[in-house]
């Protein structure tokens, strides 16, 4: 997943009530993460967004 897409998801999560500081931290370190962890983080963010939106 590209950083921009990741950032969009993080912004949506902030709108849904996630901690803005923490989301910003993840956006900041995203490029430095190893590929496997990048994928892991993207998947986690996506899943959380889906779950929160489905509430």
């Amino acid at each position: 997943m590209e950083k921009e897409e990741f950032q969009k998801i993080a912004e949506k999560l902030i709108e849904l009530g996630e901690d803005a500081d923490e989301m910003q931290y993840w956006i900041n370190i995203y490029d430095d993460l190893p590929q496997q962890q990048k994928d892991e983080a993207s998947k986690t963010f996506k899943e959380e967004l889906q779950k929160l939106e489905s509430l």
């Binding site: 009530g17 923490e22 900041n28 430095d32 190893p34 962890q37 959380e48 509430l55």
Partner: protein, 319 residues
């Protein structure tokens, strides 16, 4: 027929029951037709309906009904959201834990790049569950700090002991720097030092090309930690309690004693010194102190009388 004409007609022909009654009926029918036309939607509405039919085959009425159904659904969702913040919290907690676990993996991978620091999993379970001190549930941020503080404190204690890792480092921590445990009891091993630890880790990682990105992560995390000193302090307290708990359960000095007891020669010696008393907590430091004192007692001369001591002092002065 218009009303005026009708009356004119009737007026002209005067009253003819058969004809006029028929006319009256016709008049009524006409009036009914007119009202029907008035009630009927105009051509434009008909046209709109046709247009709507072209748009996905739905009439306006159908669209309106569907829209109201969607509105009802959305309202229900909003109500659920307002009524069920607990569920939202649960989801956030679950994913906060997952994020912290990802960061933990990053840290584990990162410290492997640095040869001196062998392990960083001691505080791993800080990711899960509640804060054991306060009993509160952990937020995603707190979990991140727990991982970082855990990594930071290990780095702090192990980096200076190059070439030694794991258990050896812990033994050094307990025995080599005996005062440390006492200090830890008062102030804590990690208290106020985790950010420095992470910054140190970042510097170490930056030395190799492999560790460049890891170094960036450490730097950014240290900055993030500095922004939240209160939460970091909380994590440090938690880490300190965990370390103390670990060291109490796995006291390396006690372990060593168990090993020594198994050796028949040393075991008998230990029995003579009374160190084998399990009820009494064993301290290598006290043992060493005792041995040293007895050693110096043996080496020192027997006590002299005051006069003799004076003479001895004068002799030494002359010499």
């Amino acid at each position: 027929m218009p009303k005026k004409d009708y009356y004119k007609l009737n007026y002209k022909n005067m009253f003819n029951p058969e004809k006029d009654l028929i006319n009256l009926d016709e008049h009524r029918k006409k009036q009914e037709k007119e009202t029907e036309q008035e009630l009927r939607p105009d051509d434009e509405t008909e046209k709109k309906k046709e247009v709507a039919k072209d748009n996905g085959g739905k009439t306006l009425e159908e669209e309106r009904a569907e829209q109201s159904r969607i509105d009802q659904k959305n309202l229900k969702k909003i109500r659920e959201k307002l009524e069920n913040p607990e569920k939202k919290k649960e989801i956030m907690e679950e994913y906060g834990e997952k994020r912290a676990s990802t960061l933990k993996n990053v840290m584990d991978l990162g410290v492997k790049v640095i040869p001196v620091v062998g392990e960083a999993s001691m505080i791993a379970d800080g990711i899960k569950g509640k804060n054991k001190i306060t009993g509160e549930k952990l937020s995603g941020k707190e979990r991140i700090f727990n991982v970082m503080v855990g990594t930071g404190c290990l780095v702090l204690d192990f980096i200076p002991i190059a070439g030694e890792a794991g258990e050896a480092a812990r033994i050094a921590m307990v025995l080599g720097k005996g005062a440390r445990i006492g200090k830890a009891a008062e102030k804590g091993i990690v208290a106020g030092r985790s950010v420095k630890g992470i910054e140190g880790l970042s510097k170490l990682a930056a030395k190799s090309k492999k560790g460049e990105k890891f170094s960036n992560i450490c730097n950014k995390t240290a900055a993030f930690m500095k922004k939240n000193p209160g939460l970091v302090e909380k994590s440090e307290k938690f880490a300190d309690s965990k370390i103390k708990e670990y060291l109490t359960k796995n006291n390396p000095a006690q372990k060593r004693l168990e090993e020594l007891k198994k050796d028949p020669r040393i075991g008998s010696l230990l029995e003579k010194t009374g160190i084998t008393d399990d009820a009494k907590p064993f301290s290598i430091k006290d043992f060493a102190k005792e041995k040293a004192l007895s050693f110096f007692k043996r080496k020192s001369k027997p006590e002299m009388a005051p006069e003799e001591a004076k003479e001895d002092l004068e002799k030494r002065k002359v010499a």
